[in-house]
Symmetry: C2
């Protein structure tokens, strides 16, 4: 997606630890007009699939998934990773290991909001080691729902998540794949 | 907003501690078609104001603010309450006391994303004691920006946040005000 590449080159910055910081439009400030272009592109990429629900993870997937959902005419469900009193007792859960934080956290979705009839598109901002995606897939599996695809805004091609998912035959589409991240030199595949 | 009242009566539930649970459309599953109606209503209520940015708080404000922002043609900034390595060093900060959790947490916004030229609309899901709203107002104040209004989806009229803000002359608009919350008996103002 050329518009996204331009946006990353113009506004992104490379931080220590292979972090691509895109908080001017994706992770802190949200460029909603741009997110609409992202949403349209996801719709184009998954046009052939019958989707009943978009699943994402708080926090950074919520805005992207919500804007994209308008083009699919389906609701969004976001998995919770922050403990809240408000969540139903009956949940599907999975453990997600965060390489960045060096610890495992639990993600949860109320059993009410994913059923075995659901055909699900996962949407998230980044794909690196695919730990979050695997956690969401585990929840879809536990619910007996069907995974129709995974849409990622920015895939880090130098980490193994993309390969891991594609080897399993997952219908994974990333809007851009970044092959190397050096200050002043971001390379796209 | 009649559609919202109907939605609360049909799908909401009252939980211990004066909690109104609306996670089928607002806080866990997101009914994006409905959120578009919420967004249009906010636009109608703040039509007379010149807004340059919508400010909200992670997590539950993000979807509402993002969908609404489409009707204002402005970006969203969400204040961070979860520690992240990715945030700029230069931030505006404020302490927010949570009555529900019985502790104070810090909210932060990068100085890049609010400037003294900004005319800001705060959007959030709930208003109870107004502690989050006061924290966001503190950040707007520190940035030298202008608060144009506060748009709330559900105000708990039996708690003092609404009165506190209106007494200060804040342009506060709530889509519904709930005056009492009893199981099987939700009263709107």
């Amino acid at each position: 997606m050329d518009l996204l590449k331009k946006k990353i080159l113009a506004e992104g910055s490379v931080e220590e630890g292979n972090i691509l910081k895109v908080d001017s439009f994706l992770n802190h400030q949200l460029d909603v007009a741009f997110l609409n272009e992202v949403g349209k592109e996801f719709k184009r990429l998954f046009e052939d699939r019958e989707i009943t629900k978009i699943l994402t993870l708080e926090t950074s997937g919520i805005a992207i998934a919500s804007i994209a959902a308008q083009y699919f005419n389906v609701p969004v469900v976001f998995a919770k990773k922050i403990a809240t009193k408000n969540l139903d007792k009956a949940t599907y859960e999975s453990d997600v290991y965060s390489y960045t934080k060096g610890r495992t956290y639990k993600i949860k979705v109320s059993k009410k909001y994913i059923t075995s009839d659901d055909r699900i598109l996962i949407i998230d901002d980044f794909l690196a080691n695919a730990q979050a995606a695997l956690g969401l897939m585990d929840i879809i599996n536990k619910a007996g729902a069907t995974l129709e695809g995974i849409g990622i805004v920015i895939e880090k091609g130098f980490q193994d998540g993309g390969e891991l998912l594609r080897k399993q035959g997952i219908n994974l589409k990333s809007l851009v794949i970044v092959d190397s991240l050096e200050v002043g030199n971001i390379k796209f595949r």
